[in-house]
Symmetry: C2
Subunit: 335 residues, 2 copies
């Protein structure tokens, strides 16, 4: 049905291997023959079958991206970077949404492995048990993890400098004169602080006039942080500044503040993390720590492509990208 390399060969009066060479390398074949073949291929509207090619070369020229949910603007941005990086080397990207569900995640891994992707970029491996992680580490294709620096030395990682981000946030609030500061973040990681939280808290504690922030743990989302903010303000009316662990959480804080008749930044300073697009649209425009999301996706796929080339060198790499304070209008001096 579809037209194959054989048709091109017959039509140009050469052998299929010549066609193959003409279409690929270009060298080791007479320029005239080459041109002839190219013309015929073009005229016949020939489309090389990459799956047949992949079967023999062992490379599929595609990568998998497993994120919890592409609707999360953070991952959408990462995905765009990843897709662009892939495209720069004529590869493409298959999109998987895990919802952080270990079952789904492993199903997707299995599926893309069977399709022989050249590498996997994933967001969360944390949900997996050790056995599953081992299985992953030995699956035969390179894997890079996003924002999971500490989790496992078996994998390559690309992450933002979360700790530095926490430091930046603390310094900013300190400089504005705040002394009653809170940090609202996601679920407690069995005792361990996240890098982000650690940078923030330690900077505050190490200040000339040390401040001991109140840290509340909740959910990494809008509603969760709205509740958290209300709880915080009920018990700690003295608070004048809040650092939310991400922008969406910060939006929850904005809402809670508004409901309580508190004005941002007049009554309450607020700083977020991520710098998602809407943080500049909301009122007031949100001061936040910019995470280079696009670049992270891009870098991760570049790393994957590198790893895929050197089949032997299985040494995990790591890369951490810088963050940046974006000053908008949700923070003010304490008066």
């Amino acid at each position: 049905m579809a037209i194959t390399i054989k048709d091109v060969a017959r039509e140009s009066g050469v052998n299929i291997s010549t066609v193959s060479r003409a279409l690929n390398n270009g060298y080791g074949v007479n320029p005239q023959t080459r041109e002839l073949v190219l013309n015929v291929a073009n005229r016949l509207n020939y489309r090389p079958n990459r799956v047949a090619r992949g079967l023999v070369t062992g490379r599929s020229h595609s990568f998998a991206l497993i994120v919890s949910d592409i609707r999360n603007p953070f991952f959408a941005e990462v995905a765009r970077g990843a897709a662009d990086a892939a495209r720069s080397d004529k590869c493409d990207l298959v999109l998987c949404n895990s919802d952080l569900d270990p079952i789904r995640q492993m199903e997707y891994v299995k599926s893309v492995l069977e399709k022989r992707v050249d590498g996997i970029l994933m967001n969360s491996v944390a949900a997996l048990n050790p056995e599953e992680q081992r299985q992953l580490a030995e699956c035969g294709v390179p894997i890079v993890l996003l924002n999971r620096s500490a989790s496992n030395r078996a994998f390559s990682t690309v992450t933002a400098d979360n700790e530095a981000g926490g430091v930046l946030a603390a310094q900013h609030l300190l400089k504005l004169g705040h002394r009653h500061i809170a940090h609202l973040t996601g679920p407690r990681q069995h005792g361990n602080m996240t890098d982000r939280t650690r940078g923030f808290v330690q900077t505050l504690l190490a200040a000339p006039e040390p401040v001991n922030p109140v840290v509340l743990y909740g959910a990494f989302n809008y509603e969760g942080c709205r509740d958290l903010t209300n709880k915080l303000l009920d018990h700690h009316p003295e608070i004048t500044a809040i650092f939310a662990a991400n922008d969406v959480m910060a939006f929850g804080t904005v809402r809670a503040a508004m409901d309580r008749g508190l004005r941002i930044p007049d009554d309450l300073s607020l700083i977020g993390f991520d710098n998602i697009e809407f943080s500049s649209v909301i009122h007031p425009p949100l001061t936040t720590i910019h995470q280079p999301k696009y670049e992270m996706g891009y870098a991760a796929v570049e790393m994957l492509m590198g790893l895929a080339k050197e089949k032997n060198n299985r040494t995990p790499e790591s890369r951490v990208l810088g963050v940046e304070l974006i000053e908008r209008q949700s923070c003010a001096e304490r008066h």
Copy 2:
């Protein structure tokens, strides 16, 4: 290197075709043999090579999604629906971002065609010239278009009922007593109104006390609509209600209104379109027309899968999904 069907066959002492049967259909093979094979496959940690399989079956079990930009929350939602639909049939989705650039778009089409995807879901075919469109239509795999009902009878489509959405918006504003109404939309489509605009305008014109809205054309984005709103209000201070062609544009209007000291909804009623997630987060929460984005993605891929199965029946299908008015707090009665 990787372990193949041959290894499983040898290890279980049967022929590879028996292994194949045991692994796939399940019938036409002795239950005991089957179990044996399954055990061996499992023990060897065998991963069937889907690309080899695809080469012989002619189906890749993957679909392409070409959108202008996955960072647009509308498409992220569509993508999630599409990915979930694909997954329900053990297929997966390759993600392509065209930026509405005809070159990129055709490059991606070429690429996924060569990888033998079973179908393509795309957002915009409008940018393509007739020759390219013909090429697409004859490419041999089913294609469904998203939100492009009128563009071309050669393709299947899935779209929201945009016209009904326009009608809903108009009725709502009318009911609230507004008589000085504006509509802010994207670039003018060489004279033709979009379905959305048409529904809105015609409903207004057909009212008991007909109103003739002012319609302004600009860009489909935040900044564009911010400017547009300023222009509108400079020339038409009498306007009391605005219908923006999408939520992001509405956010631009919110910003412009705020800059001018106008209060929404007290001084100005505003209604958006799409119901993206942030429309409920912004202040005031935006009244808007909900478009079933997830469902559209889901339905489109379902349609693709159907089309892919009946290789002969090349009749384009069409499906239009309902929209819904979501009342929040950006519209008030005119007083």
